[in-house]
Symmetry: C2
Subunit: 151 residues, 2 copies
């Protein structure tokens, strides 16, 4: 925590933490035969809620053809469902399905471990952690928007 070269340097700790999170996400997805784009879309839906194929495809950086097929894959695998839009019959709404699927199953062990870790903290400490989770999520969400705007 002192010298820049130190193995416990704060920046390094944080980078390693992020790498671990990414790695676990990827590994879980791979274990479920979920491609990178599919996972990306799934995360988008989790984070921003149901949206139309058009929006989802645009966010994922896809043209309409691949978007349709990506949603097909997610739907067949049971992650999402297409529902007709109530106000515009051309539109479709893609919404994540709450019911447990393969991905949740695969992620369960890690979630339990994290749960164990979190239960080791006092309520005050948990407040700090969840405050951070909330703020960081918003920061990352914003950063993704900025990235989209740039490119």
């Amino acid at each position: 925590m002192s010298t820049p070269e130190s193995r416990t340097d704060a920046g390094a700790v944080y980078r390693r933490y992020l790498s671990a999170v990414m790695l676990h996400g990827h590994a879980s997805a791979k274990a479920c035969d979920l491609g990178a784009t599919d996972l990306y879309a799934l995360n988008l839906l989790e984070l921003e809620g149901p949206m139309t194929p058009g929006v989802l495809g645009a966010r994922a950086g896809l043209t309409t053809g691949p978007t349709t097929r990506m949603i097909d894959r997610l739907e067949e695998a049971g992650y999402v469902r297409r529902v007709p839009s109530p106000d515009d019959r051309r539109k479709v709404i893609v919404e994540p399905i709450g019911k447990p699927v393969r991905l949740d199953e695969v992620m369960t062990p890690a979630r339990e471990e994290i749960g164990k870790i979190l239960r080791g903290y006092s309520p005050e400490q948990l407040d700090v952690l969840f405050d951070y989770f909330t703020r960081a999520a918003e920061a990352y969400r914003q950063a993704v928007d900025d990235l989209r705007a740039t490119s």
Copy 2:
């Protein structure tokens, strides 16, 4: 934070946070034309340090052919470097290069935002956060190993 259906439910907050992290990682990689597997390998190297192509490929779930080409791509893009193994002249060691490349550049805005957030906490609160980062990284690392063992 009270009812299970609540929008601020702890589990939901955490899932949304993870989604945001994954999403940002993916978006950053995409902005640098880094494929999913390449990003995966890069995270592996960041987390576990230098390793041989054989190990890296196995960890990434690739056969030897694609492994070589993946390392070629990472090397050309300046993320890693191949160095000969000192004790076995058949082997090569792939190590991440510390110098800033496109990916770091793209991730800078988010890092600064996160830095700002972190600077808002007291030293005691930061201890809690970094304690969590360290433990969680280890938990995720372990979970990835378990996933590999299972499949």
